[in-house]
Each structure stands twice: as C-alpha cells, then as structure tokens.
C-alpha cells in the first residue's frame, strides 16, 4: 500500500488529506465531496499551486465508520504527512478523530459535521485542531423553527425524524426547543430508523394530529420517500427541512410532493456567483454538484488562505493557528472562524422555497 514517497517532507508538493465516505450509505455525499476537492486542487495547481508548490490530495474512505476515520487520520498525519485534513461529512467521525489530530497537531476542517461538540468539548473548551465550515445543529434548528413561527406564522408543527441519525436527532431537538419557545406546539413527533423506506404509519399519525407544518430533518432520499407518501395519504401541510435536502435528485424523486416546501440551506444555489463552480463540476464529472461540494469549496478556500497566511508548507500547527486569522469569501458566505468555537462566525442561513421544481432563494435569515 502506501501512497508513494509519503514521508519525504522536503518534497515539492504540499499534501492535503481528505476523509469521508466513499462506500456505505453516505457515499453519495462523500463521493461528490472528494471529487469537488480534487477538481479544485487541479485548478489551483494549474494556477501555480500554493506558495509555489503543487498540492497533492490524499483521500481516504471511512465508509462512515469512526474507527476507520481514526485509522485514516493517523495514516494521513503520520505517514502521508499532510498539513491539514478536510472532511469528514458526518459528526460521528469528526468527533472521534480529535485525539489523533491533537497529538499530531494537524487541523481538520469538517464540511457538514453539524454536532456542536465536534469543535468544543463538554466543558465548553474549544478543541484546538477541529474546525468546521458549516453552521451547527442548534443554529439550523433554531433558524428553521424561527422562520416557521415568525415568518410563516405557523403554530402547530409535527416532526418526523430519524432516531438512528445524530444529525436528524440534533436538528429536531433544537427545532422543537425554539418552536415551543416561540409559543408553537409540536403536535406530533414520530421517528424511524435509517434504512427504513416506508413512513406511512408515522405519517398517518401525523395526519391525524393536523399540523400546519411538518419538519423533515434528514437526507433527501428519505425526504423524497416521506414527502411522496405524505401526499399520497392526503397530507397537505407545508414541509420543512434543512441542509440534508438540497439536491437535484430530490426534485427528480419528489418534485410535486415538495412543491411549496421551505428549507434551510447554506447558500442560494441560483446565486450567479456559484455558477462557475457548478459548471466546472458538471463539465468534469457529468453530474450535478451536491451540497457537500459547495462546503468543501469553502473549506478549501479557507485552508489555502491559512496556508498562505502562515507562509509555510510544512508546519501544520502554524497553518492550524492561521485558520482563525483569515477571512475568505466563499460560496456559502463570508467565512471567518471564531477562535472561541472554531465555527464560522455570523454565517447566515439561506431560506429557500421550492417553487416550480426550483430552489428559490427567499432571504438570508439568522437568529440571535
């Protein structure tokens, strides 16, 4: 095995690692993420690389498993000698790799790991080498609930969530808290388990509770299935969701069913500024960019800025420190990492409505 001449620190390339799911049920996102990153790196290399050095990407599959993520990180930091790592796209793996990152003093920028504890520990101390580019579950949940209550004026909400998914559980929990704080009631909260495909029993119950809005805090395959089944059962409530939704696939799978739904996203897909990225990806891989592609784009921008700022291609610790010192304008907004939380500061969520099978940007919306 090995990736060829790994340990040579005096080489002309600067090495960046990536970890994420290339297999397993998260592979859709992992694949897009790693491909986008490879594309960005190729572009950057054509432009001359960073600090005059070419960039080399070393991506490893974790199949969504925390143990594998730790192995992959250990291999990246000790053997491949990467200066920083991008990914993974799930909180579980991001949480498990902290210790390995710390002992090697290499930074990791998670893409869509939204669990707050990825970057801060239980006592609220920031973890020195864990960063993220996305907003966190409480934020997303709160935005979603706030928008539903304040802007859309709903008072009765139902939740259908994936018990076995950390993302889904976190999201729904914070939605529930905010929505109730704003005076709304959760009329039904039903769960399912990753891998399920039929939600009609839960939806029938939800229907009986007569909500105005149903939160669907999970990924788009389940969104499509549950939205279709909800409509089949004659449920007419508005559907809402988060950053698990945005995908062209969703339109294809559930176009009519999700018409008129709202979702919280990291950006506006129709923003002319993201067009070049979308086109480049489509041209290179012949498929549409998933959300993870946008996220990894910004993570990569942040990283290159930090490397340039630290002015080193070998000192991973310095690069890590520089991550908080730079500010870049990414496709998901202006990105400035807070030194206290290692989360992007003041990033506002984009509220998107689905109209005529299109993700129509409504407004930037933030809470607190």
């Amino acid at each position: 095995g090995g990736s060829g001449g790994g340990a040579d620190s005096g080489s002309d390339t600067i090495k960046i690692g990536w970890i994420g799911s290339l297999t397993g049920d998260q592979a859709v996102w992992g694949k897009c993420e790693s491909q986008t990153l490879q594309m960005l790196i190729d572009q950057k290399n054509e432009e001359g690389g960073i600090l005059g050095k070419q960039i080399e990407l070393i991506p490893y599959d974790t199949r969504g498993d925390a143990n594998e993520a730790v192995n992959a990180v250990k291999r990246l930091v000790s053997q491949d000698k990467v200066v920083a790592i991008l990914g993974p796209n799930a909180s579980g793996q991001a949480l498990a790799i902290s210790a390995a990152l710390e002992s090697a003093k290499v930074a990791d920028i998670a893409t869509v790991a939204t669990n707050p504890k990825v970057t801060v520990d239980d006592e609220g101390n920031v973890k020195p080498y864990n960063y993220r580019i996305c907003f966190i579950d409480p934020y997303q949940g709160a935005v979603c609930a706030g928008y539903a209550a304040d802007k859309l004026g709903y008072t009765k909400a139902a939740i259908l969530y994936d018990v076995a998914s950390d993302y889904s559980q976190g999201f729904s929990q914070f939605f529930e808290e905010t929505f109730e704080a704003k005076g709304g009631t959760i009329v039904a909260k039903e769960g399912f388990k990753t891998g399920d495909v039929d939600f009609r029993p839960q939806l029938s119950k939800i229907k009986a509770a007569e909500p105005e809005v149903i939160l669907m805090p999970y990924y788009y395959k389940e969104v499509a299935l549950s939205a279709n089944q909800a409509r089949e059962l004659g449920i007419e409530a508005t559907l809402m969701g988060g950053d698990g939704w945005p995908s062209d696939q969703l339109m294809e799978m559930a176009g009519d069913a999700i018409e008129g739904s709202y979702l919280v996203n990291h950006l506006d897909f129709n923003d002319p500024e993201v067009k070049p990225l979308q086109d480049a990806y489509d041209e290179k891989y012949g498929s549409v960019l998933e959300l993870n592609g946008y996220m990894v784009n910004d993570a990569f921008l942040l990283l290159t800025a930090a490397i340039e700022k630290a002015n080193t291609t070998t000192d991973s610790d310095a690069i890590s420190k520089a991550l908080c010192e730079v500010e870049v304008k990414g496709v998901t907004g202006n990105i400035k990492i807070s030194p206290e939380t290692h989360n992007p500061d003041g990033k506002e969520a984009a509220i998107v409505k689905i109209e005529n099978k299109n993700y129509v940007f409504q407004e930037k919306y933030g809470v607190n």
Binding site: L22, T23, G24, D25, A27, V28, G30, K31, V163, E190, G191, F192, K193, G195, D196, V197, D198, R200, P201, Q202, S204, K205, K207, A208, Y220, K221, A224, L225, N228, E232, L233, G234, Q249, E252, M253, S287
Partner: protein, 292 residues
C-alpha cells in the same frame, strides 16, 4: 375508524414488501438450510436491471419485469456457482455458506457503489402515483400490485413444491443431497432450479421495490427485516414467510400507532423473541421431536 383502517392498509402494504423478499429467501433456506444473506444483493441488482430495462432499453413494464426477473435469476445462479457450489461439493456446514453469502453481499453492494455509483435513482413513472382512494383511505397502486404478485408467486411456488415431482425432489434434496443422488436426482439441476426461482423472485421484488420507493446500492439492508419476518413465520415455510411478513408489517405499523415509533423495531424484536420462546420454530415452522 378510517385512520385505523388506513393503518391496517399501511401495515399490509409494508408487509407485502417484506413478503416478496421473504419468500425468495425462505425458498433458498428451505432447500439449502442456510440463510442466504446475499439475497438482498440480488434484489438490489434486480431493481437496477428493471430500472435500466425501462429507462435505457425503454421496454414496456411487463417486459422489463421479465427482464429483471431473469436477470436476477441469472445472477443468483452465477452466485451459487461461484460462492456456494464449491462449499456444497465439500459438504461444508451451513455456517460457511452464510459467511460466503455475507462476502457476496458485501461484494455486490460495493461493486455497484464502485461502478454504477452511490446515487439514488428513481424509476420513470409507469403507474399513476396517485393512490386509489376509498373514502378517506389511500391505497397505493403499487402496493396492490405487490400484494397480488406476492400472493401469486407464493401460490405458484407452493404448487411446485407440494405437488410436482421436481418439488418432491427439492424437498428430498433439502434433507439429504446424498440420498437424492442415490435416487438419480441431478442435485446440481435442483439447486439450479431453486436459485433461479429464488433469484427471479428477488428480481421481481427488487423492481417493484424500486418502483415503490427508490433504487440505491444499500437496498439489501431492508431484507434483514424480511429475514426476521421469515423467522416469525417459521424458517423454510413459504406460507410462514408470508404470514410472518404481514405480521411484521402490522406490528411495525401499530407500534407507531401506539406512539412508539422510535422504538418500533425494538417492539418487533421483542415480539419475535416472545414468539420464539413460545414456539421455537416460528408460527408455521414444523416442530419435530428428535428421534434418537
């Protein structure tokens, strides 16, 4: 009341998905006496074959279903030749078959991920996606189709197994391949028949599943549920597989109705254990007193 009826229908239709998968699994189990964990993989491939038959070859529905059935049947047979038949020749115990089947299932799933890719795919719309409405109650069209097809395939299989000579030979072989060989049965042929039948069922199940839901490489995971359903009903008993599946569908549904949707599988498992404690061979499995 109408919501109760709606839930019964929901339960039945979930059950019929499990049933279609469980029958094929149970068929192989009843002959080979091992849990064919690769059955889910074949179902998944069946779903893809059906999808491509419809979208790339633009075949009409029925033709596509036939293609999916035969395609999956072929895959099942090839799988048998590669992964099981060498074991069979050595009279390896059931355990080894299970492991080989697991290897096959890992292989198939990831082979699809690596080649076709991990993306979800949807079937082109063939039937009106609007359900039949009986008053307030929605009855999905594909659900009805699945139910009917499960019933028909069960009927055909039962007829073959119980009434025909091949069926007799199948049952005999299931107990002792050696004994059947002594009687002039071409054991390889019997196994071929079993796997092609099981595979065809998987193909049909996969295609209908894909139409009802969606197509993705991890469809196989859902078949774990149908294995459990088969155990509910009694391993190796085909009617048992169907009864168990319907039962599981209803249990899952009414666990949600009772307000325990987050503990749904737990309730199903608890009932499974309960049933097995009372009837160690499932609802319709044969209980025989061992003779020394």
């Amino acid at each position: 009341m109408s919501s109760f009826l709606q839930q019964v229908i929901n339960g039945l239709s979930i059950g019929s998905v499990y049933a279609l998968m469980a029958v094929g699994y149970s068929l192989v189990y009843s002959i080979m006496n091992f849990s064919n964990f690769a059955h889910g993989g074949v179902i998944m491939l069946g779903a893809y074959i059906g999808l491509y038959a419809l979208s790339l070859l633009s075949l009409p529905f029925v033709a596509a279903l036939v293609v999916a059935a035969f395609g999956a049947g072929l895959i099942a047979v090839v799988l048998e030749k590669i992964a099981y038949s060498p074991l069979r020749r050595r009279n390896a115990p059931g355990l080894y078959f299970i492991i080989s089947a697991m290897g096959a299932s890992i292989f198939l799933e990831n082979f699809v991920v690596a080649t076709i890719g991990p993306t979800f795919r949807t079937y082109p719309q063939i039937f009106d996606s609007k359900p039949f409405m009986i008053g307030d109650i929605a009855l999905g069209r594909i659900d009805v189709l699945m139910f009917v097809i499960s019933a028909i395939s069960l009927g055909i299989l039962m007829f073959i197994i119980e009434k025909t000579k091949v069926g007799l030979a199948i049952r005999a072989t299931s107990y002792s391949a050696k004994g059947s060989a002594f009687m002039g049965v071409n054991v390889d042929w019997i196994i071929f028949v079993i796997f092609i039948l099981g595979g065809m069922l998987a193909g049909v199940a996969g295609m209908l599943f894909g139409m009802r839901y969606t197509v993705y490489p991890q469809i196989g995971i859902i078949t774990n549920k149908s294995f459990i359903a088969a155990v509910f009903g009694g391993l190796g008993s085909l009617p048992g597989a169907v009864v168990g599946s319907i039962l599981l569908g209803l249990i899952e549904t009414f666990a949600s109705v009772a307000g325990y949707s987050t503990y749904r599988d737990l309730i199903a498992f608890a009932l499974l254990i309960l049933i097995l404690v009372v009837r160690p061979t499932g609802l319709m499995g044969k209980a025989t007193e061992d003779k020394a």
